[in-house]
């Protein structure tokens, strides 16, 4: 901790964050221009959380994601082409067009689903962690959820079981201050979701979710603890969504002030990291800009590829309702 992450790790984290930001910026445009159907919940502003945690995970480690799940998939190694194709509802998408934005997922890299149900993920992650322990592997299951999800009954059941069985599990609360359009102070009497950890007998840790290094270090400690068989941790990352609950501009609901948004944008997690990387001579501003440019062109290429992909055939609608043999 004294030395901080290596340059290699810093660059890797930066790359993950930029990939999320650009994926989401372009996804937002696609939604607002009516190019993709459905509702997109965009991750812009929260990049440090997904990137800081995922930098510790291999493909074998599992995560469960949320309705705001694109960022988690990108950070875990999801490819733009298959992701955009999923948003377009095309057969080349990760879920063959059956899931869309809210269920964007890739089982092959340990993503047990993005979930349209608030708090759908934690009980499933606990199951994966149970499986890891049962199979005696060193895999860890990480569940991402919001401040809003921490009010669901399923959260309580999952957290209690994870602690009871000392499972290799990490609960990452992305506290962005809102459950949909309801501010945290209007949906729970506590300020820190991490306070709840004590009630389950697990450590609760709070970090600045806009500071990716802080997230990285706290997540590393919790994940190592889980891998050592010492049980779960509740890691609360204080963060903010720069876009609206749904889409970029959203539905015009008046629930937070422009000043508040502006204030949080002063602490843009990517900007904070890039300033630090420039200061430490790890990545110059020009080199950072080159990363953005490269990722942007990858996104544009992936969007064109997705847009040119075929839709799933209607006759295949029932194919995956049940498993019928490989």
């Amino acid at each position: 901790m004294a030395d901080g992450p290596s340059n290699e790790v810093l660059l890797d984290i930066h790359e993950r964050m930029v990939r999320i930001r650009i994926f989401e910026e372009e996804a937002g445009k696609l939604m607002e221009n009516g190019k993709v159907p459905g509702a997109l919940h965009l991750y812009v502003g929260q990049e440090a959380v997904a990137a800081g945690v995922m930098a510790h995970l291999s493909d074998a480690d599992q995560i469960t994601s949320t309705h705001r799940g694109h960022g988690h998939v990108v950070a875990k190694g999801g490819q733009f082409k298959e992701m955009y194709a999923e948003l377009y509802g095309r057969v080349t998408g990760y879920c063959k067009g059956m899931g869309g934005s809210m269920h964007i997922s890739n089982f092959d890299i340990g993503i047990l689903g993005a979930n349209g149900i608030v708090c759908g993920g934690p009980p499933i992650a606990v199951g994966a962690a149970f499986s890891n322990k049962y199979r005696e592997t060193d895999q860890v299951a990480v569940t991402f959820f919001g401040d809003g999800a921490s009010n669901e009954g399923a959260f309580h059941e999952a957290a209690n079981m994870a602690a009871l069985y000392k499972l290799p599990c990490l609960f990452v609360c992305e506290n962005n201050g809102f459950g949909e359009y309801t501010s945290q102070k209007r949906h729970q009497a506590i300020r820190d979701v991490a306070d709840r950890a004590a009630g389950y007998g697990m450590p609760g840790v709070i970090v600045d979710g806009m500071d990716v290094i802080a997230v990285y270090e706290a997540a590393g400690e919790a994940i190592n603890r889980a891998r050592r068989g010492e049980g779960p941790t509740l890691l609360e990352c204080k963060t903010y969504r720069f876009y609206d609950h749904v889409g970029v501009r959203g539905m015009g609901i008046d629930y937070r002030s422009d000043d508040e948004v502006k204030e949080w944008k002063q602490r843009d997690p990517i900007k904070l990291l890039e300033d630090r990387l420039a200061e430490q001579d790890v990545l110059s501003n020009d080199d950072a800009a080159a990363v953005h440019e490269r990722v942007r062109s990858e996104a544009m290429e992936a969007i064109a590829w997705a847009d040119a992909s075929p839709y799933p055939a209607v006759e295949n609608l029932l194919d995956d309702v049940y498993y019928n043999g490989e």
Binding site: Y134, V321, Y322
Partner: protein
């Protein structure tokens, strides 16, 4: 049977058949485990898991908190990552506590994620009335489950089927519910000692007959057989069909029977309105309309929660008497 040394004719109660089905499944699959409330130390409030903790240990027989959503979530996550969970939800009335995990996670995971997930998870639960357990411990909610694409649902009615259904369910690669019946726990019947599986989705004709096809769901099979015995004395012949699996439903066996008898009745313990009897009746009229000599009859519980008071509960559940009366009415005899 004085000395039941012959394995094929060994008779054991339904409750023991359940234990044996779970026990043999755990032997068959090292990745299988049993989890639920009071399944380990207590051996289940119904006594269905007695001895399993001693045999398999705490790793594989897992007592859980009273957390139905947590239990089903645990099963979904474990199944998606290579295990073969057997979950116990005790009373099926507790489905309400975990319906999101069942309906939105377990049932949809494979489909939503493009066919990548495989979820070999079995859920065991006890259904049915008749023990004055009142409104929240007596329901027959199979229709809730049958309405969810992605799930399969079995309802074993005999000790033989109880064991064979559990083994079939654990071998199955899709999420599957086995709805056991608490009033049937003491029923005895022949159960082979070796493992065997009831084919999922195949009905069985429990009694052949020529006048009317009676599709009986769950415990109603026994009531229908009693009615058939009674009516036979008057020369009325009931064909009693036990679907055994209600999702997927074996329509073909029912249709073939109706084509022979030209009359049909469906009986279930669940509330009649929007019960699966309505679905079966619709299928019969779609596929065998020209064969029917009378409207399809349906027997089920009245549109009320299950009552506690014994005489009311008795009146609430369809029984052999009402099945016989309805059969006579349908046949005009």
């Amino acid at each position: 049977m004085a000395a039941a040394t012959d394995q094929a004719t060994r008779e054991i109660p339904y409750v023991k058949a359940i234990t044996e089905g779970v026990q043999q499944s755990l032997h068959e699959f090292p990745e299988a485990f049993l989890a639920g409330e009071d399944v380990a130390v207590a051996g289940s409030v119904f006594g269905i898991y007695k001895g399993l903790l001693a045999e398999f240990g705490e790793k594989r027989i897992v007592d859980t908190p009273i957390s139905e959503a947590g239990i089903v979530g645990l099963g979904v996550g474990a199944a998606a990552t290579g295990l073969r969970p057997i979950l116990d939800i005790m009373f099926m009335d507790f489905l309400g506590e975990c319906m999101d995990e069942v309906a939105n996670q377990m049932a949809k995971m494979r489909f939503m994620f493009g066919g990548k997930a495989k979820l070999p998870v079995t859920v065991l639960m006890m259904g049915g009335a008749g023990m004055s357990m009142a409104a929240q411990h007596s329901q027959s909610l199979e229709a809730w489950l049958c309405h969810l694409p992605g799930l399969k649902v079995m309802m074993p009615t005999t000790p033989y089927d109880a064991k064979g259904s559990i083994i079939a369910a654990v071998r199955e690669e899709n999420p599957i519910f086995v709805i056991l019946n608490k009033l049937s726990l003491g029923i005895t019947g022949p159960v082979p000692e070796e493992p065997y599986a009831i084919p999922i989705g195949e009905a069985i004709i429990r009694r052949e007959g020529s006048d009317i096809s009676v599709v009986a769901i769950g415990r109603m099979v026994h009531e229908a057989l009693t009615a058939a015995e009674e009516l036979a004395k008057d020369g009325i012949s009931l064909e009693v069909i036990d679907p055994r699996t209600v999702q997927p439903f074996d329509t073909a066996t029912v249709i073939a029977s109706v084509q022979k008898t030209h009359h049909a009745m469906i009986v279930h313990e669940a509330v009649r309105f929007a019960g699966i009897g309505g679905e079966i009746a619709a299928q019969i009229q779609e596929e065998a309309f020209d064969y029917l000599d009378a409207p399809v009859a349906r027997l089920g519980a009245p549109f009320a929660p299950v009552p506690y008071s014994p005489p009311l509960e008795k009146a609430y559940m369809p029984d052999a008497k009402r099945i016989a009366a309805t059969a006579r009415e349908t046949l005009g005899r």
